[in-house]
């Protein structure tokens, strides 16, 4: 009974925290345009913001709620189960729905990619063996598909339409998405559903495209080739919608991307600040120290909050 009660309370806290943080992120986030940071960093910040509710609620539940319940909850208390059980069921439903979304996205992607890969051959223009081209009409011009085994699919029309340099830089753009594991990130978004997150996801998607452009381009010639490829491929109309676990070459904000590429110069690229992962380390260490020093009072406070929840 004690264990069941503990599970119900933990799940309740998880779902409440998740909903609260998600609502906060959905309403409080703002586009990061005014910040003078590299697009890779913008994409990373937006991804962190999008996944913050899930990660924070899991961490708080396991680091505070579960230990506070185990250490401070008297084992003999009975009753007051209705609210935690109801919220626990909600949490289980949320987890089940998230899993369903992930499985559906993966299944649809796999099904579509299998169809697109029918009769596909390795692309000679690319040195990377993961790149193939497909001939099925109505497929996207260039797209990165899959999570575990990502592949770049290129249509025959694209090969015919683009010059060697344009094709090379377009492939490089997609390979940058592969390096950043953008399809996995999209799948993670499926795992943290919450209404009102579409704009944040769209901003991330746009930043990820710009980041892949920036990473692929190393000189003005590359930038112009990529812009030319973008414009040419935008004229090709895909008949089918792209699956969730894919990053298309031609996405939204075409004008913005082309304008950025045409105005590309080495100086502006180096001026933009890139926020590295290790920037977070001092904050993480400070937070860990703070929590370890004040762990007992924090546990007591957490227990009081959960007590209020049980009543």
């Amino acid at each position: 009974m004690f264990a069941l009660r503990g599970i119900a309370v933990s799940l309740s806290c998880f779902v409440l925290l998740y909903c609260l943080l998600s609502a906060l992120v959905a309403t409080a986030w703002r586009p990061l345009k005014p910040l003078h940071v590299a697009q890779q960093s913008v994409a990373a910040i937006l991804f962190a913001l999008r996944t913050l509710p899930l990660i924070a609620s899991v961490v708080i539940t396991f680091a505070l709620v579960v230990p506070s319940f185990r250490l401070l909850e008297p084992r003999s208390i009975k009753g007051g189960m209705a609210m935690p059980v109801a919220l626990g069921v909600c949490a289980l439903l949320l987890i089940a729905y998230s899993c369903f979304r992930v499985v559906t996205a993966q299944t649809r992607t796999t099904r579509l990619v299998t169809r697109w890969l029918e009769g596909a051959r390795p692309l000679k223009a690319s040195t990377d063996s993961t790149v193939t081209f497909h001939s099925r009409p109505g497929t996207p011009p260039i797209t990165l598909v899959g999570v575990r085994n990502p592949r770049v699919l290129v249509s025959e029309t694209t090969v015919a339409l683009l010059s060697d340099d344009e094709l090379h830089i377009a492939l490089k753009h997609e390979l940058e998405h592969m390096k950043s594991r953008d399809n996995l990130k999209k799948l993670i978004f499926c795992f943290c559903p919450f209404p009102g997150m579409a704009k944040l996801e769209s901003a991330w998607s746009q930043a990820a495209e710009l980041a892949a452009d920036d990473a692929a381009v190393s000189n003005q010639g590359d930038a112009v080739d990529l812009a030319a490829a973008l414009v040419k491929l935008s004229r090709l109309v895909p008949v089918e919608a792209a699956p969730v676990c894919s990053m298309g070459f031609v996405a939204d904000s075409l004008s913005q991307r082309v304008a950025r590429l045409l105005a590309w110069d080495e100086a502006s690229k180096s001026r933009r600040v890139r926020i590295r992962a290790w920037f977070v380390v001092p904050f993480a260490i400070a937070a860990s120290l703070l929590v370890s020093i004040a762990y007992s009072p924090v546990l007591a406070l957490t227990h009081e909050v959960t007590e209020w929840l049980v009543r």
Partner: protein, 144 residues
């Protein structure tokens, strides 16, 4: 001039007679009820034409100025502008409907791509200009 009947998304909004009157107005530029009737292509009573013009005015498709006891009507949009407005409106309605199927979205992409042809032409021109610029710079560097 583009026929009103061919305008994407316009059919559900305008009746056949409204479309005919709007086409005539596009052809004239501006007209009063009497001028439209004098053309001979509209075989309806004065009040019918007047009511139709009033309805088009209330739908925001026409502008009017008083001319004696009557009104002179002018189309607010060119056929191309109206096409753009109605297309965007249709797309907005489709997006707001929250259709879960991927099929309408793919049609939406198709519609957007078709109607952005002008933008793509402009972007292509910019890219070509930049290409020429780079080529010229390269030549100058090689010479020097």
């Amino acid at each position: 001039m583009m026929k009103a009947s061919s305008i994407f998304g316009l059919r559900p909004r305008l009746g056949p007679f409204e479309q005919l009157v709007l086409e005539k107005l596009w052809a004239y530029g501006s007209a009063t009820v009497r001028e439209l009737l004098a053309d001979g292509a509209i075989h309806q009573a004065y009040t019918t034409v007047s009511t139709t013009l009033d309805r088009l005015y209330k739908k925001g498709l026409l502008e009017r100025v008083a001319e004696g006891k009557a009104f002179r009507y002018t189309p607010r949009h060119t056929p191309e502008e109206l096409q753009r407005v109605t297309t965007l409106d249709s797309i907005r309605q489709l997006l707001e409907s929250g259709v879960p199927s991927s099929l309408p979205l793919s049609h939406l992409v198709e519609a957007i791509s078709i109607h952005d042809a002008q933008l793509l032409d402009e972007l292509q021109l910019l890219v070509e200009r930049k290409c020429c610029e780079l080529r010229d710079q390269k030549k100058i560097r090689e010479k020097s």
